[in-house]
Amino acid sequence: MLTLQNVNAGYNGIDVIYNISLSVKEGENLCIIGPNGCGKTTLIKAISGIIPHEGIIKIDGIDINNMKREQVAEKIAVMAQISAVYFSYSIYETVLLGRYLHMKGRTFKEPSLKDKEYTDKCLKAVGLYNIKHKQINTLSGGQLQRVYLARTLVQEPSIILLDEPTNHLDLKHQAELIDFLRDWSKCKGHSVIGVMHDLNLAIKLSDNMLVLDNGNMAAYGNTNKIISSNLLNDVYDMNVTEYMIDSLRQWEAYDSYYNKSKLRKVN
């Protein structure tokens, strides 16, 4: 279980997020939403320990400031955002690196049979097993994102942090990723905390939502309640509900047109 109590964090001594308090239980997923620059990524960085924080962040009741780096990494894994690949490794090599903590105790940190088998298992789960010897600098953005997801999974964490995990994925892979993460958390009693821009995907993934606005908690609670409130309209400075309903109307119109045209063809 992850708990945050009055957490402030930022860069170069200037806070970007203020007084964040929340808790994420086992098997529960949280999505962090909000406009650009509201502090979503900063919150993810604070939870993962990349940047220092004020306040208290606890994992299973232990303050992360009292935990060693390795102990935090055993509990929390962060799925990386796509960035430039400077030196190319094979997909398999890249994913296997996620087993670092499991390999660390051995001379020259060689992988065990279990490390290799678990890597293969995660590669199969993300659909990359058949191309595992391909170099990562030849992959599409979407494939690379799945490589990083597999590397996150081989770490065997109980909490996965994601920062805009679907931004390079096509529609099919977006849906697959969200379903996969939801199944992963529900089956294993683990948690996913994700920064999302796409509200539809955020609704699909999360049990609870945190809405950030200018670094402050604008709302936090059950996803359905947050979405059905008018609060999002204020945070995003637009009529979010109307926009989403309008999109649905357009889909319905297309659907109706498509069905009619099919009928005409049949007749």
Binding site: I76, A80, V85, F87, S88, T94, Y100, K104
Partner: protein, 341 residues
């Protein structure tokens, strides 16, 4: 070709290169004689009658073998150092020189050459020792300054501060050179690098430094692999980035500093060797580090062989040869296979 075959071929290639480096020159000595001379010196094995009392023994044992081994050690050391720097700083153009090792070492050498001072008990080692100290102080100052400016010790800050320090130290060096014109030629030659007149003492000192540094760097090969993906990622995967970064930067700067302290500035290999090795063997540092050692070492021996034989009995500066041969070779290896070229 499988990785283990590539590695075996590289080891055989390196041995052939060293034998060629030892055997070829104004007096050519066949490999069988070289092996006999080495066996005689190391294990007191009897020498064949045809080489007893010839000058070949002195040429091989006193001149060419220490020179070739030194070239191998220096080339290997700067290549390994380059591969580590590129990965730690996530920059394919980074090297110990980016952090000011060569500028610092050159300044140290200039101080010794111009003032003619001697560190007590060190004798001929005064020049390399001062070069190493100045090189390391420059790197340490640059990294320390960078950490004061940026507590997270971001890679871009280190590179920028390193370059500023390097330029600053170079400016002082230029001032010294313009004032002490009598020593200009000596200073310029030191900056070109040379293996001439080097004996076993340099090899005996450098060998353990290189061996221990390479073993330690090899131990951190997994961390190096992870750090090439970025420090944030490495951190969240459990790597103690800040501590390991200091160790890796210090070791690789020390490796280059020790190597160039004996022979003057040797550039280019630290840049090209890691790229060539990654292209042939893949990016895993478990292979990149030892193969950089073999490739950088062999390449240096070949360059030194050319530098001392092409216009024999005169010698060309080995630094110029490394770039003349290395640049087209690097371009061929790095860009071959790319479409449109």
């Amino acid at each position: 070709m499988k990785l283990k075959y590539k590695i075996t071929l590289s080891i055989i290639f390196s041995i052939i290169v060293i034998i060629a480096g030892v055997g070829l020159g104004s007096v050519n000595v066949p490999p069988s004689h070289i092996i006999s001379i080495i066996s005689n010196k190391l294990f007191s094995a009897p020498l064949p009658a045809e080489i007893q009392g010839t000058t070949s023994i002195s040429i091989i044992w006193k001149l060419r073998l220490p020179r070739s081994l030194l070239a191998f050690l220096v080339g290997g050391a700067v290549a390994v150092s380059g591969s580590v720097m590129q990965s730690v700083l996530k920059n394919p153009l980074a090297s110990s020189y980016t952090l000011g090792v060569s500028s610092g070492a050159s300044l140290g050498a200039a101080v010794v050459i111009v003032t003619g001072f001697n560190i007590p008990f060190l004798g001929f080692l005064t020049l390399p020792a001062t070069g190493l100290i100045f090189g390391m102080v420059t790197v340490f100052s640059a990294v320390k300054f960078a950490s004061m400016m940026d507590k997270n010790l971001e890679t871009s800050t280190i590179i920028l501060v390193g370059m500023v320090f390097s330029l600053f130290v170079n400016a002082i060096l230029t001032l010294i050179m313009s004032i002490a014109r009598d020593h200009l030629a000596q200073l310029t030659f030191w900056q070109m690098g040379s293996f001439s007149l080097k004996d076993w003492s340099s090899v005996i000192i450098l060998f353990p430094i290189v061996l221990i540094s390479v073993i330690i760097l090899q131990y951190f090969s997994k961390e190096l692999d992870i750090m090439t993906f970025g420090e944030d990622q490495a951190f969240t995967m459990g790597v103690d980035v800040h501590k390991i970064k200091w160790v890796l930067l210090g070791l690789s700067a020390g490796l280059t500093g020790s190597a160039i302290a004996f022979v003057g500035v040797i550039g280019f290999i630290d840049l090209i060797a890691p790229h060539v090795v990654r292209k042939v063997f893949g990016s895993s540092h478990r292979t990149v580090i030892p193969m950089s050692m073999l490739f950088g070492g062999s390449f240096m021996v070949i360059c030194d062989l050319i530098a001392r034989t092409i216009i024999s009995p005169s010698e060309l500066p080995v630094g110029a040869i490394t770039a003349i041969i290395g640049a087209p070779f690097f371009a061929y290896v790095y860009f071959s296979g790319r479409k449109g070229l």
